[in-house]
């Protein structure tokens, strides 16, 4: 039987800075895991020769959340999606596939302790308080499972409609939706995995020692540590970068 292909997907769209971040991320992955296969999903206008570092190249549109489209178009059987503004800093990156176990999708968890570093964690749905639990900064998924890929496509499609005010499911608080929830792709993900019947059977897990796979630099402010006291594998620079300001 043919071994399933495994690879990383990194997406850079809309803003040239993300292309720079993505190149840095891909190079850092290869620093620690030279055999890694990486697919760069980006806009053709950004290319400057450095894209050669990627094993696979896919062009996307200029939507600021083209990451969802990129995730839905992974060329691999098993995929690890990573936000472009991250950097790999440990050779354990090569072990990421072990966390797949028998899950369909694996995420970093948005816990109460970590909640202060997220814009929104709790929201009202049908009068009850609900919480986002899955953080989309990284996502390991079985991209050979058609149902997983259908979810990825729905995530992309619904999110675009949600952002354009063409889709809003019943049950959300109208004001909160407009103020906080509409702009978040996590809202769409929450809806799909919790309310969409066809995705009820998907097995969704959390990385073992998940903090190592998406270590926001702000976690360091509180001294958050890995449960096995191991160093981060992927560090996330999300909160500290001036993404709209040219790097030089």
């Amino acid at each position: 039987m043919k071994e399933p292909s495994k690879g990383f997907v990194v997406v850079a769209s809309r803003n040239i800075n993300f292309y720079t971040y993505a190149i840095n991320l891909i190079e850092s992955i290869k620093d620690y895991h030279p055999e890694a296969r990486v697919c760069l999903v980006t806009e053709e206008r950004f290319l400057d020769g450095r894209e050669d570092i990627a094993d696979d190249l896919i062009f996307c549109d200029n939507h600021y959340r083209a990451k969802l489209w990129g995730m839905a178009n992974s060329p691999y059987d098993m995929t690890m999606y990573i936000d472009a503004d991250m950097e790999c800093e440990h050779e354990d990156i090569a072990t990421v596939w072990d966390d797949m176990k028998d899950y369909d999708m694996v995420f970093h968890e948005l816990t109460e302790e970590r909640g202060r570093y997220y814009a929104v964690r709790e929201f009202l749905y049908e009068g009850k308080t609900e919480q986002y639990r899955l953080c989309g900064g990284v996502c390991l998924y079985n991209s050979s499972n058609p149902l997983v890929m259908e979810l990825m496509e729905d995530w992309d499609d619904l999110y675009r409609r949600q952002l354009a005010r063409l889709w809003r499911p019943e049950g959300f608080d109208e004001q909160q939706w407009e103020k906080d929830l509409r702009i978040f792709d996590q809202t769409t993900l929450w809806w799909l995995v919790n309310k969409e019947e066809k995705y009820k059977d998907l097995k969704i897990g959390i990385f073992d020692d998940d903090i190592r796979w998406n270590y926001f630099t702000q976690y360091g402010y509180q001294g958050f540590k890995s449960k096995y006291d191991k160093p981060p594998i992927l560090r996330h620079y999300s909160g500290c970068l001036s993404k709209d300001v040219p790097i030089v």
Binding site: T20, Y21, I23, N24, E27, S28, K30, D31, D48, G49, R50, E87, E89, T217, Q218, Y219, G220, Y221, Q222, G223, R235, Y237, C240, L241, I247, V248
Partner: protein, 148 residues
């Protein structure tokens, strides 16, 4: 209405000249608690009756034990806070270093370099001077190649 003292009273100074204590008085259905900061001596040099009342009520050993426990707790909290500050500083330094590296990678000679080893060393650098050293090597290499 009788006055009692909570057993968490502690000495404010090592020489036991100031005592911090909480009194409790029950008046019908109402319980009143009040925090006192008591000097051992009054302004005229005489002994403070209230101070003596607390020591009499709780006993000096109990106050010593509560003071020790409180001091240890405060020291542990201070240590934790210190560690938190160190971690915070380290994280902020790391963020600045990351931005600095991204800027360095945008230098044309470095951007176009295919020297993966040096670029990797630059990326793994732990300080700005280390970044600069690898940056110099990469630029030097590009200049050398240009003169060949």
């Amino acid at each position: 209405m009788s006055r009692t003292w909570l057993d968490n009273a502690f000495w404010e100074t090592p020489k036991k000249q100031i005592l911090n204590a909480i009194s409790e008085e029950v008046d019908g259905n109402q319980t009143k608690r009040q925090v006192h900061k008591l000097d051992r001596l009054n302004e005229d040099g005489s002994e403070n009756e209230l101070f003596l009342e607390v020591v009499e009520y709780l006993g000096e050993d109990k106050i010593d034990a509560a003071s020790k426990k409180r001091l240890e707790k405060k020291q542990a909290e201070a240590e934790l806070e210190k560690q938190k500050k160190v971690e915070q500083e380290r994280s902020k330094k790391l963020e600045k270093l990351f931005e600095y590296k991204l800027e360095t990678f945008e230098i044309p000679e470095i951007k176009e370099s295919k020297n993966r080893l040096l670029k990797s060393k630059l990326r793994r650098s732990k300080s700005i001077p280390e970044v600069n050293l690898y940056a110099i090597l990469l630029v030097q290499e590009a200049l050398d190649e240009g003169t060949k």
